[in-house]
Point group: C2
Chain length 496, copies 2
């Protein structure tokens, strides 16, 4: 027990450094003037080294091993905490400091090149900087594969989605990949027969958009004693569970994007805010993984806030706040705005029906890149072919094609599938929630989100990393992760 308790203390210190890094990262995106970049990079690099040194201290590994021999005396939560400690330790120690350092430098350099290359649609410039990133990511994958007895891709995936495996994803994506093309056609055919979307005419003052966002956040259960809403170029949810920092970006001509962006981030934030308080600053108190995290943002954004009940409640609030009137501002038109299906080039602008195609393409390509089956030089053609066959769109240039996302330049391979795993989990969780508590849906229609939040708190948020993603879904919905609920959701929303 003493050994375990000492581990808790070490991880509490690690959590404090993680928290400091999270706050500095938020500030960098939301507050920092450009001229602060050099000093901030030094601060964050120094703290990252401190964290890495603590996490790879050989004494820590020995202590974890010793605690494991005494695990029988620990509670379920303590055992899960120890398992997560081991997980973090093994991910950190699988890599040599030299490899960590080399990858961090290569990705930093590649990100810089990518920013310009994307703007210029200059794939050649990008490819040159991406070469070392891909090589080093392969080295990372090989080292972790070796340490964990996994395939290289699974070893990377495991960073973002603990326990996630490509074999499982292949099946789920095959099911979705078979379903979607025909479904998209049907949904678009139905949409074509519906009344045309009426424009919502702006401009919409930023301050008003912000006020509406804050009002909805409050209604959804966001606790402003433990967080803030600010502005950044790329919206995200950062900070720590006691102090969650959301960001969004406003366009005066169109309030609909920023508003739904705020609601999406609020889903992430509610997860963080609802993590088990008794396990703050411990690995088991952290969110389970990226699939569940995305499930919480998509549950709020896609399942709840683009649904009829929410939009019925929100419509008069939006009319009043923005001074709108007429049929454009009634629920049916807002619903058409918020459920428009339109195959397009850009993932972050995609609707929920076409979004999985963007992910499936990236998932296939990143596996091929990692395995060496796809040469970097052949990426644009492979991308453009995929977009054409999966979504029927022609890519005019790499800026609107394979250069659009930051993930690969940043060395993140294995992240993309979690978006669609999250979409499936969101549908599955929301279906179970509605089935288990009949007050949830009528509550949403009246702007009372307490029944929903109560269900999420006890079935998802409050469980931290106690269970695996599948165990959690099994406990909450009676099934492991599947595509059925997502398909049923799409049919109900877009075809009925």
């Amino acid at each position: 027990m003493k050994t375990y308790k000492a581990l808790e203390q070490t991880f509490c210190r690690i959590a404090a450094v993680n928290g400091a890094l999270a706050m500095l990262g938020w500030d960098q995106s939301a507050m920092m003037p450009d001229g602060g970049a050099r000093a901030r990079a030094e601060q964050m690099a120094t703290l990252s080294v401190v964290r890495h040194d603590w996490l790879t201290d050989p004494a820590l590994g020995e202590r974890i091993a010793r605690a494991e021999t005494e695990a029988g005396k620990l509670s379920d939560w303590q055992q899960a905490n120890l398992r997560e400690m081991q997980r973090q330790w093994s991910h950190a120690t699988a890599l040599t400091p030299a490899l960590v350092d080399a990858r961090s430098r290569a990705t930093a350099a590649c990100e810089m090149v990518w920013r310009k290359a994307r703007a210029d649609s200059d794939f050649k410039a990008f490819a040159k900087a991406f070469r070392p990133v891909l090589d080093l990511t392969r080295e990372v994958a090989a080292a972790k594969a070796d340490a964990f007895g996994l395939s290289p891709y699974d070893a990377l995936l495991d960073e973002y989605e603990p326990g996630g495996r490509a074999a499982r994803i292949d099946k789920l994506f095959a099911e979705l990949g078979g379903f979607l093309p025909g479904f998209i056609d049907k949904a678009m055919a139905k949409q074509a027969k519906a009344p045309a979307i009426l424009p919502l005419d702006g401009p919409f003052a930023t301050e008003t958009q912000r006020a509406v966002g804050l009002r909805f956040m409050k209604a959804l259960g966001f606790d402003f004693n433990h967080g803030r809403l600010d502005v950044s170029l790329h919206p995200f949810t950062g900070g720590v569970p006691d102090d969650v920092r959301l960001t969004t970006r406003y366009e005066e001509a169109d309030f609909t994007k920023a508003l739904m962006g705020v609601l999406h981030e609020t889903g992430h934030a509610l997860y963080e805010l609802g993590l088990p308080k008794a396990w703050r600053d411990q690995p088991v108190g952290e969110a389970r993984g990226m699939a569940l995290h995305e499930s919480q943002s998509l549950l709020v954004e896609m399942q709840v806030c683009r649904g009829d009940e929410f939009l019925g409640w929100a419509a008069p609030i939006l009319r009043k706040a923005f001074g709108g009137s007429g049929p454009a501002w009634e629920e049916p038109n807002l619903r058409r705005v918020y459920t428009r299906v339109r195959p397009g080039l850009i993932r972050v602008d995609a609707d929920e029906v076409t979004y999985p195609a963007h992910v499936i393409l990236r998932y296939r390509l990143e596996q091929a890149l990692l395995a060496g089956d796809l040469a970097i030089a052949d990426l644009p053609d492979a991308w453009n072919d995929g977009m054409s066959s999966l979504l029927g769109v022609e890519v005019p240039d790499d800026r609107h094609g394979c250069l659009q996302d930051i993930h690969w330049p940043a060395g993140s391979i294995g992240y993309f599938p979690t978006y669609t795993l999250g979409a499936m989990a969101a549908a599955q969780l929301f279906a179970a929630a509605k089935a288990q508590d009949a007050a949830i849906l009528p509550g949403i229609g009246k702007g009372d989100f307490r029944p929903l939040l109560r269900w999420l708190r006890s079935n998802v948020h409050g469980r931290g990393s106690l269970l695996t993603t599948d165990e959690l879904l099994q406990a909450a919905t009676g099934k492991p992760l599947g595509a059925a609920a997502f398909k049923a959701h799409l049919k109900a929303r877009y075809l009925s």
Copy 2:
């Protein structure tokens, strides 16, 4: 040289942790919701321990000693850097970790009690929590006195004002203490014969106040690529030299305080922004001490911005921004507003003429407290007697008396005198600057602060901690720190 270079690397890492702490501290005051307090305290405590461990590493002491034997090969700046490293190391190692920890806990507890005790004017409650703070501060003073061969008070003073000594301050304060009472009477007599102050009627929208503040900051040379202006309960200047974070507090009924507050903090900020870029992240690149830091804020606020030239330039800007008109908004009335002399109870609200009396009282009392010549229980009477004899005001309760400041509850003894040392240095520097560059004063009258900033950059800011305070003043003004320029300034402004 290798030894010295290794030291630079260590102090670069220490600077990164210092910078992280500074940003987290700024966020705590300017951005953080209350509910973030626990996590933030953990983050800051953890980073403080990291810094303390690095700074008290025995290997560091040995390396400094070794580098000192080779100091002949170092440049002036490197030698000064080594001296400042030694200074930081000796301050850190003079105290045992147990003493640092005990003091930090006692002051944290006392600050909490003080907040309530001040609001309730409850000296007894405060006294109980202050007892351990004073005892531990005495222990700190004794340990540092022992390590540095200084008196206990000087050992504390040296933290805030390197090289500052009470014997020197006694003389300066005696000169000022002899001059001020008669001067205050004369200034007030003259003021009584001047036209009455015309009220500036509000309300003044916060956004307008902020816009005016930003305009003046920009004019003074603040670089918004390297800093921001935000809001906090207690205005301060934080952040790092590459990214200086100013705060202020707005009152809608009265713009004059927030505006002068912004200008005061801008003085601090210009010092930080102007520190030598070649020595960023090194001890010699830091500001020299609190006396010079305060000299820079007071030079901007008191010497420049309450002067005729500045107010003549600012008056039409203020009129236009706030929609004011009539004689209240002309320069003569603004000057009377900004140079009103009025003995009062509260230090932070005091004018520049009566301010030193507040400081002299605190300076005497904190020496007596530290020496044990004044019992905590006798502090209120001693305070009230002092206010009566120094300023002729009667203290109605301890909230407006000895409980008003956070310094003592926070364990800061030896800080107060730097305010008035700063006022004297400000007068001396500004007099020298005007004498050396005839373009400075006319520039200010036209809103062109470049000549002033140029002088400050080369004579103060850019010197970092290369020189001692006195060496810097000698080089810049031809004299060590004295009271003469301050007295001359007061006479010129208030009697002529």
